[in-house]
């Protein structure tokens, strides 16, 4: 592999296991790989292969047993909890299968949430939120509550929320898993735009072959190990 640019994500010897009663169940075993900036990576594999766990570890919401993850030069595996939370706020955007919007907040307020953790003024926040909502084509739905939006629209609000702090990486867990074909196509096209137009790095867990097609690279996980494309 030609090392022209340093990788944005470097995973080294990552292992993780869960305790289930007396037993220890290994989920990830000694995984190493890099992700280049601006890459659109799909993680695939059967249920229980550890792909979601891997995504959670990269996103900094779970702790590894051993190994390191370095993202943008920061080794997140050693960060204490509070610092890790602050790091997530500025560096990772989350896209979930079920959108995970806060039902009591409007589209605008949902998108504004991550900005509350920054030092931006009210006006700056408003500008940012309006920009990203226009980007996802929902500028006219700002004051709608999630329950007033379709699934596809909700996922676009969620993408706007993920984008609003301008993070380096976006993590997506089955982003099209709950959507019909048309909406899923729109979401994938939007994600593609984020990669090509805005240079974002996307790491996506998916079962959907159509989603996987959009990705630049596929990583297959089986029983906690990478089966191909590890470089």
């Amino acid at each position: 592999m030609a090392e022209t640019t340093p990788p944005i994500v470097a995973v080294r010897n990552l292992s993780k296991s869960y305790r289930r009663g007396q037993q220890t169940v290994p989920v990830l075993q000694d995984i190493s790989f890099d992700i280049a900036p601006g890459e659109f990576l799909a993680l695939m594999g059967p249920s229980g292969s550890g792909k979601s766990t891997l995504l959670n570890l990269i996103a900094g919401i779970d702790k590894a047993d051993s190994g390191t993850i370095t993202i943008g030069g920061v080794e997140i595996t050693t960060l204490p909890e509070a610092e890790l939370a602050a790091w997530r706020a500025g560096n990772v955007g989350f896209i979930f299968q079920f959108y995970n919007l806060i039902p009591v907040l409007t589209a605008f307020e949902n998108v504004e949430l991550p900005l509350l953790l920054t030092g931006l003024t009210r006006r700056e926040r408003r500008d940012h939120v309006e920009t990203v909502l226009s980007l996802v084509g929902l500028a006219d739905r700002m004051d709608h509550y999630p329950s007033q939006l379709s699934g596809g629209q909700q996922q676009r609000v969620a993408i706007a929320r993920a984008m609003v702090t301008d993070p380096e990486i976006l993590v997506a867990d089955e982003p099209t898993g709950d959507l019909d074909r048309v909406s899923a196509g729109e979401i994938l096209a939007l994600m593609e735009r984020l990669v090509h137009g805005f240079g974002k790095t996307i790491i996506m867990v998916t079962h959907d072959p159509r989603a996987a097609e959009q990705a630049h690279r596929l990583l297959h996980l089986e029983k906690g190990e990478l089966t191909d494309g590890a470089g």
């Binding site: 919401i61 602050a86 989350f94 079920f98 039902p103």
Partner: protein
């Protein structure tokens, strides 16, 4: 920065029914809490307002009340000649009074209740500007005439103007009704002191009231009266005298009320706790999402505690709202110090409002803390998986 307040507030609005039910439980407790304090305050205010700052009450030493007191004529003569007594229109403002308890039937139920009969002098009214004859006239000295406090006229048989009351083996005609505001005098019957002493065959006065020409001379006159070997009397400022009377009862009400409300509040707190635990359980994914977005555990804790505080405050405001209507209610009860009927109203003060709101916030806080801690301690991955 933390999770916006609107998040906590709107979640309460979203589950309005649960919110209303939980808040109602708290409102009920706050209502009882406020009402008891209002009752104690009403009693205190009624008795304290009965006195004036520049009036001095002289009673027999260690007689807490006028009913228990006795001052014979020679002692009364000594007190009457104190130089600190104010003079108005050529008259010394001093009144020798007698206080007797009699039993009269109430209107409606006909049940007997104790009433204070006060034998007064012509100067008695001058020293009590809060007492005003609102109907009829003053009783003439030397006659079997009486006037009744407004509260007596309303609540006791034969207390109205033109009616007669029988006590002391004589019939007494009510020739006047007097209003004394929200004071204990409203629950008294006044007549001529000499007539009443005869009727009740009392050779002694109950108390001597006088007005000071200068309120700051109280200490001197008190020292002289209490130090005089011929007198076994004590002198108190009138306000102190009545405030002392209210203390035991007000304290009893307060202790009873606070004990009751603390027990009730346990129920309300548990109700709030159940509601908040349910709220946390319903929003596990939300909590996971907020944490993933970078909100700290403390922010989650604060958001849920705030939600519960809102809930408590809502209960407090509603409870106080209904308690404020209690001000329209007049309660008459036995004044255990004098064993006489005393009518008073529930009185709402800023202090009571403050205490009730703090009480409701404390209930909200206690109810919400454990659920909020649970929310804050959640593992992000587990919470997100709860979808």
């Amino acid at each position: 920065m933390s999770i916006p307040y609107s998040y906590s507030f709107r979640n309460l609005w979203t589950r309005r029914l649960t919110t209303v039910l939980t808040a109602s439980g708290m409102a009920l407790v706050v209502f009882v809490f406020a009402a008891t304090l209002m009752l104690a305050e009403g009693l205190r205010k009624t008795l304290v307002d009965t006195g004036s700052y520049d009036n001095v009450v002289v009673i027999r030493k260690s007689a807490q009340t006028e009913v228990q007191s006795g001052i014979d004529r020679s002692q009364a003569a000594v007190v009457e000649t104190q130089p600190e007594i104010a003079v108005a229109g050529g008259k010394r403002l001093v009144a020798k009074e007698i206080v007797v308890l009699i039993s009269l039937p109430k209107r409606g139920s006909g049940k007997p209740s104790n009433v204070i009969i006060r034998g007064v002098s012509a100067t008695s009214l001058l020293m009590r500007p809060q007492v005003k004859v609102i109907e009829g006239r003053m009783p003439r000295p030397g006659s079997a005439e009486i006037m009744a406090g407004a509260s007596i006229a309303k609540r006791f048989k034969g207390g109205g103007i033109g009616e007669t009351l029988r006590f002391g083996m004589r019939d007494w005609t009510v020739v006047g009704i007097f209003e004394a505001g929200n004071t204990g005098f409203s629950s008294e019957i006044w007549g001529d002191v000499d007539q009443l002493m005869q009727a009740f065959r009392r050779p002694v006065y109950s108390s001597i009231i006088f007005k000071l020409r200068d309120p700051s001379e109280f200490a001197r006159v008190k020292e002289r009266i209490e130090g005089d070997p011929r007198l076994t009397l004590e002198a108190k400022r009138e306000i102190t005298f009545y405030a002392d009377q209210s203390q035991a009862m007000a304290k009893f009400l307060r202790i009873l009320g606070i004990t009751l409300t603390i027990i009730f509040s346990l129920g309300a707190v548990i109700g709030a706790m159940i509601t908040m635990y349910a709220a946390v359980a319903n929003r596990v994914t939300e909590i996971g999402t907020l944490r993933a977005l970078g909100f700290q555990r403390g922010s989650i804790l604060a958001a849920f505690v705030l939600e519960s505080l809102f809930l408590g405050l809502l209960g407090g405001v509603v409870g106080l709202f209904f308690a404020s209507f209690m001000q329209l209610v007049t309660i008459s009860t036995m004044n255990w110090q004098t064993f006489s009927e005393l009518a008073f109203t529930f009185t709402l003060t800023l202090d009571i409002i403050g205490k009730s709101l703090i009480f409701s916030l404390v209930m909200g806080f206690v109810g919400g803390l454990l659920p909020a801690v649970r929310a804050a301690r959640m593992n992000i991955v587990d919470a997100l998986r709860a979808t």
